[in-house]
């Protein structure tokens, strides 16, 4: 019979781990606390975890209604992450479909090329990418970011691994019913692949949202900045106002926390699958 009593050793370990986890959470708790304070109270020591005087609204205004308001960065990040994610899912799944369910000459050769270029560190190709973007006239546009981020060897590979496991009978049956390849891809493969599509989609969204390097290289105008570059502006402009800077950090993190809390399982699965990020 399963005992319902509390195991004392386990309870002590839990308390100890709780303390350790608090140490790890302290920087974020400090951020939340500081975002609610007046600047003069932020660096008071010992730390006032619960503010004596609240200035959440003032900090919020400074972040969200400034000259270059944060909501603009938000919209840019959201736009970029959504477009990049949708196209990545589409192109990667199309390629994975061809690699697993269609027979043609050159298929395995193409896959070999893909695989062998998976080890190339993305950073080592930045210079030529930058030149292409400039020559295409896309420098300082969102299109530059979409173009460079919408292709992913790794996610194509992941989807291929998943599609290999889908029984050919599904496809044979559809063929007999007279369905063409496009209908089979759209009507059968994609619905069957929902779990991997969701996982890949969430991870790609989070990575794109957090990307700093590509916007730093491809964007010039502040109006085009995503949140990561927006944070850079705030860090430069508010170097002495930690309360506002912490409100900005909190704002940048909240959407990710929401995604994580709602889709915890998918996120953790995706991160453990997609562990190659540098």
């Amino acid at each position: 019979m399963q005992s319902q009593t509390i195991n004392p050793l386990k309870a002590v370990t839990t308390l100890f781990m709780g303390a350790v986890s608090l140490v790890f959470l302290v920087p974020l708790l400090w951020m939340v606390s500081a975002a609610m304070k007046f600047e003069k109270d932020v660096l008071v020591f010992p730390i006032q975890w619960i503010p004596t005087a609240w200035n959440a609204a003032g900090n919020f205004k400074a972040v969200w209604m400034a000259d270059i308001p944060f909501y603009l960065f938000y919209l840019n990040s959201l736009k970029l992450a959504l477009i990049v994610t949708v196209i990545t899912i589409l192109f990667s799944s199309m390629a994975a479909f061809a690699f697993t369910k269609l027979q043609f000459k050159g298929r395995d050769f193409a896959f070999g090329i893909l695989l062998s270029f998976m080890i190339i560190p993305e950073q080592a190709t930045l210079v030529p990418r930058f030149l292409f973007i400039k020559w295409l006239g896309l420098y300082n546009t969102h299109a530059a970011l979409v173009v460079t981020m919408m292709f992913s060897i790794y996610f194509t590979f992941l989807m291929r691994q998943f599609m290999i496991g889908i029984h050919p009978e599904f496809i044979e049956a559809a063929k007999i019913d007279g369905a063409g390849p496009f209908r089979i891809y759209w009507g059968i493969m994609l619905p069957l692949c929902k779990p991997i599509l969701a996982t890949v989609g969430i991870i790609k969204f989070i990575w794109t949202w957090n990307d700093y390097q590509h916007p730093l290289i491809f964007l010039l105008d502040k109006e085009l900045f995503p949140i990561t570059l927006g944070m850079q502006l705030f860090k430069d402009d508010y170097a002495d106002n930690f309360a506002v800077l912490m409100m900005a950090s909190l704002s940048a993190i909240i959407p990710l926390l929401l995604i994580f809390i709602i889709l915890q399982k998918q996120v953790i699965k995706g991160i453990s699958l997609g562990g190659v990020k540098g």
Binding site: K10, P27, M94, A124, T125, L131, F132, I176, F234, L257
Partner: protein, 313 residues
């Protein structure tokens, strides 16, 4: 029956003797599906690799236009080996690896073994340690830049309150800037490593521990004889992933220190960024890219050798 056979071979049951027989049709559809992704990979991965190899043999300041491109052979590589900044970047990358990889793996292993078997509220702990990882590294970088503030920051106020009169300046301190960044990286990365370890631990069958228990093996013996060996593949996967990741570190350096002070925290990818996108020396930046590529290539090769031995346990 004939229909079925034709269908099994290709997509068009009606395909006859005409030019567009089913095989050609399937090939065409195949390339159509493959096309967008393959084109993108060719333009953004395959071609750039060769292009950057060529560029690395050229002296070219982007500002001068294409006509200013000059083939100089191995000059860039000669410069590379005498460049003190590149030397500093290499050394920093190595130090950063030594600071982050063993410490991160050790802490993560310890925490996940405890979470896996011996605590209540397991799902809370998974989430708590994971939150820093999921948060944007740039946003948490901003948080840490406040925590690290040399005179007024909470970290140094705390250190002074426990009697350390001269705490480090952290980010602006040449002796500590790289360590400061490494601390953030370990803190932010631990959640990922814990997730991987927990996956590995849940793959170890309970019967092994039960049998060891019956044989009278202590917890420590169980850990050394069962847990560690069976985590071999997880360990080597994490080790390689973290090792490669540590040579691609960029965001925190660019955001927090700009490689400073006096190159104390510069790294290889930051050097590529500086030469390519601030000085517009495309040839030289490409040569540094190839240095990075060579390092990652060597790690990949070694990791293959390790995996060959460790996967079959």
């Amino acid at each position: 029956m004939a229909m079925k056979q034709a269908a099994a071979e290709g997509f068009s049951p009606k395909a006859g003797a005409n030019f567009w027989n089913h095989r050609r049709r399937e090939a065409l559809t195949g390339w159509l599906f493959l096309g967008p992704e393959l084109l993108g990979i060719l333009v953004l991965y395959v071609f750039p690799v060769f292009f950057s190899l060529y560029l690395s043999l050229c002296d070219w300041n982007l500002v001068g236009g294409i006509s200013a491109m000059k083939f100089v052979g191995l000059d860039n590589y000669a410069e590379l080996f005498q460049d003190a900044k590149v030397g500093a970047a290499l050394r920093n990358n190595l130090v950063y690896t030594l600071l982050t990889v063993p410490l991160g793996m050790f802490l993560a292993l310890l925490l996940s073994v405890v979470i896996h078997s011996k605590v209540y509220l397991q799902s809370y702990f998974k989430v708590a340690f994971f939150i820093p990882y999921i948060s944007s590294i740039i946003a948490v970088g901003a948080v840490w830049s406040a925590l690290y503030h040399p005179s007024l920051g909470p970290i140094n106020q705390f250190l002074m309150s426990i009697g350390i009169g001269q705490p480090p300046m952290w980010l602006p301190d040449p002796n500590y800037s790289l360590i400061s960044i490494a601390i953030i990286a370990v803190w932010a990365g631990i959640g990922y490593q814990i997730v991987i370890y927990l996956a590995g631990l849940s793959g170890i069958p309970d019967e092994l521990y039960e049998a060891a228990e019956i044989d009278g093996a202590s917890k420590l013996q169980q850990f050394r004889r069962i847990t560690l060996p069976l985590l071999g593949p997880t360990n080597s996967f994490l080790f390689i992933t973290l090792l490669m990741g540590s040579f691609k570190v960029f965001d925190l350096v660019a955001f927090l220190t700009g490689g400073g002070p006096n190159n104390a925290s510069t790294v290889i990818v930051y050097r590529i960024y500086e030469e390519g996108f601030q000085n517009f020396r495309m040839g030289y930046a490409s040569a540094i890219s190839w240095l990075l590529f060579a390092i990652v290539g060597v790690i990949t090769f070694i990791s293959w050798q390790i995996q060959k031995r460790s996967v079959h346990y």
